[in-house]
């Protein structure tokens, strides 16, 4: 299972904070991003950062592992 997390403005748009996606062999970050985009059209337009297991990633072709945690995040505004 892949755990997908949404925070702040992104969570408001998708109206949920967590979603589980079945893991399949060979799954990439692109596959998850595509699925999220299909389920929540418009949500990705404010996503500026994606993290896999709490580390920012830029390459959507990276392979995922079962139980990975993926976060979709808008621009930060702490401080």
């Amino acid at each position: 299972m892949i755990k997908v997390l949404f925070f702040g403005p992104v969570a408001d748009r998708v109206e949920t904070r967590v979603m589980d996606i079945d893991y399949t062999d060979g799954m990439t970050l692109h596959d998850v991003t595509h699925k999220v985009g299909m389920l929540y059209p418009g949500a990705l337009s404010i996503v500026s950062f994606i993290a896999v297991n709490q580390e920012q990633v830029h390459d959507k072709q990276i392979g995922l592992n079962d139980n990975d945690e993926i976060a979709f995040m808008a621009k930060f505004s702490g401080g």
């Binding site: 925070f7 702040g8 408001d12 621009k75 930060f76 505004s77 702490g78 401080g79």
Partner: protein, 141 residues
């Protein structure tokens, strides 16, 4: 002694943070601090409250990295970073950074660098509550 990097709901004591920083080394000749607090006015609107949300585990890890990088980059003797994640009222404390070095220039430079990097790298978001409703904040300079 409290952890030098923390995310917490409750307010913090600047005196306690500075005392903890000073206790780490007697070679410290300069301490620079930054206190971020909640304004009651933003982008032309009154602001009554600010709510914070964080990706806690990543935010804390990134803040710890920031501290380590700052200590190395500016040759600090120690540094502390505390960020509140809760709902605050105008005037309340939000974030505190303290950088201690042998001399003032490094402390000033590091303090500025840490808060600038924190705003860019740490997954925390703020939502302002105004008479017109609530709105997530985009970055301020």
């Amino acid at each position: 002694m409290s952890e030098p990097v923390r995310i917490q709901e409750q307010d913090f004591s600047q005196d306690a943070e500075i005392a903890a920083l000073k206790a780490s080394s007697k070679r410290m000749g300069g301490i620079a601090t930054f206190l971020g607090c909640a304004r009651d006015f933003s982008e032309g609107r009154d602001v009554s409250q600010i709510s914070f949300e964080a990706y806690g585990s990543m935010a804390l890890a990134e803040m710890r990295k920031l501290r380590e990088e700052a200590i190395s980059k500016f040759d600090l003797l120690d540094a502390r970073i505390v960020h509140r994640v809760t709902t605050v009222q105008a005037g309340d404390n939000i974030v505190f950074i303290a950088a201690g070095a042998a001399h003032r220039a490094a402390a000033f430079d590091a303090c500025r660098w840490i808060i600038d990097e924190l705003k860019q790298r740490v997954p925390i978001w703020k939502k302002e509550v105004t008479p017109e409703g609530e709105a997530w904040v985009t970055q301020h300079p």
